[in-house]
Amino acid sequence: MISALGQSSLRIVSEAGDLARFTVRGFYSAVGSRRLGRRLARAVYEQGVRCLPVILIVGTFTGLVLGLQAYHTLNRFGSAALLGPLVALTLVRELAPVLAALMLVGQAGSALTAEIGIQRNSEQIDALETMGIDPFGFLVAPRLLAALIVFPIMTGFFTLVGLVGGWLSACVLLPLAGNVYWASIDRAVKGADVAECMVKALVFGALTIALCCHNGFNAHRRTGATGARAVSASTTRAVVFSSIGVLAADYLITSLLV
């Protein structure tokens, strides 16, 4: 049992090391990669623009539910006026970066894992290598850089629509005064809270997109599955590990910054 535990630990450490090397190589390969801007724009479009509707919908409903629950809970203690800060700080410091990252992993991350996995299976990555084109610079670097742009912006959108959702719940559907809601948010949210939110968004972006790229890039190395099944297994693995990674990293960052 001790041997199995040791082997599992070694495998986890080894895979974490591989992922770290992969990520560093991915970012580093951006240096000198030709026509990176065009591929970066496409990656921003795929991770950002195409995921915007789901971010706006989930953000709005999160704010609506948060406003509803918080109003009734705070009202029991006669503290309904604190609803704005509660909704805002919950969104800014926790829910917006975490839920936006999970949504982006579900839509953009899974799609890019499958795309790179298929490119690996159909020898497109081998073809890049034989043409003297670094597949890291061509495929991985633009997606990693796009994640650093898209995740903070999407987290910002999530927060904004979440706040509007909270306002709809508390001030339109329930009797809280709108000016109290917005003024209390303005007083409660500090620069450090926004900074924590952005740090989380950046870390989640780099972590999840690196995981997704890594799984797609190594789809052909999956044991027990080949071809299309290897791609689907890699995609599932990427989404599961990215989701766990987001929650684990969230705890780590929060414990460091709180």
């Binding site: 190589r25 081998d126 073809a127 290598e129 003297g132 890039f217």
Partner: protein, 282 residues
């Protein structure tokens, strides 16, 4: 091009490649002289494509070595971590080799997110410093030669198998390489296009003087268009020589391969004549 003429441009020495317990290449020693077109023939599953991938550095041999202008090539194939080691011995020679080499994949390996034009322009845009105008001229010319000018804006998925093959061929030739590795360039093409592709390879070879290795099953076309043939059998080079030597050798394995069309014709003729089935079929 300062290399001595007697050093083959590309060569393998005792090349071994295994996949698990299966030995695909057992001991392949082969020389590809500069400016020649070598056809590698053999039954399906004998490792022809594996040999080509080892030549291109896509697969890492388990033994032996690939020599480019007499110098061993390294490997840029990903290691167990999925990373491509850049500091392995011979990696510099491999990078130099790739700048001068093109590879036509059996499955074409076209980038499906790019149009036909973008696929052909890709190696020029990403791996050369050519100005945009020159790239435009070269891509237009490559597409025109392969009768794909009208399809420049289409994606590979919107093309037939034959068109995709021609597109892959255009991409392989657009860089005007010194070495071209063709992995079944005529697979899936009709006879007219098949002959046209072999004709194109022969004409392009004459025009640009590249060295070519063509893995193919099309024996008559290979005999007509290639200077040299190598027959791969059970992981080893069973025969290597000119088409004339191929026609004359008494080797039974070569003879079986060479004479299979005639054997089929005889078999069909006997069937039509109502004769009994040959004993081999029982």
């Amino acid at each position: 091009m300062n290399e001595p003429e007697n050093v083959p441009l590309l060569a393998t020495r005792a090349l071994v490649k295994r996949f698990g317990d299966q030995v695909v290449l057992a001991d392949v020693t082969l020389e590809i002289p500069r400016g020649r077109v070598l056809a590698v023939i053999g039954k399906s599953g004998t490792g022809k494509s594996v040999l080509l991938k080892c030549l291109a550095g896509v697969l890492v041999p388990d033994g032996g070595e690939v020599l480019f202008e007499g110098r061993p090539l390294g490997s840029a194939a990903p290691d167990a971590t999925g990373l491509c080691p850049a500091d392995t011995p011979g990696a510099e020679a491999l990078a130099a080799f790739r700048r001068r080499c093109s590879y036509l994949f059996q499955g074409n390996a076209l980038l499906d997110s790019l149009t036909a034009w973008e696929n052909v322009a890709l190696p020029l845009e990403q791996a050369t410093l050519l100005p945009k105008a020159e790239i435009r001229v070269r891509v237009t010319e490559a597409l025109r030669r392969l009768e794909l000018e009208a399809d420049a804006g289409r994606y590979p998925a919107q093309m037939s198998g034959g068109m995709q093959k021609r597109l892959a061929l255009a991409r392989a030739l657009v860089t005007r390489p010194e070495i071209v590795l063709f992995d079944e360039p005529t697979a899936g093409l009709d006879p007219v296009r098949r002959n046209a592709v072999f004709g194109l390879i022969a004409h392009a070879q004459r025009e640009f003087g590249f060295t070519a290795v063509v893995v193919t099953h099309d024996l008559p076309e290979a005999l007509a268009a290639c200077d040299h043939l190598a027959l791969l059998d059970q992981g080893r080079i069973r025969f290597s020589g000119t088409p004339a030597e191929f026609a004359a050798t008494p080797d039974p394995v070569v003879a079986a391969f060479r004479d299979s069309p005639a054997a089929l014709a005889r078999d069909i003729a006997s069937l039509r004549a109502g004769a009994a089935k040959p004993a081999d079929y029982d």
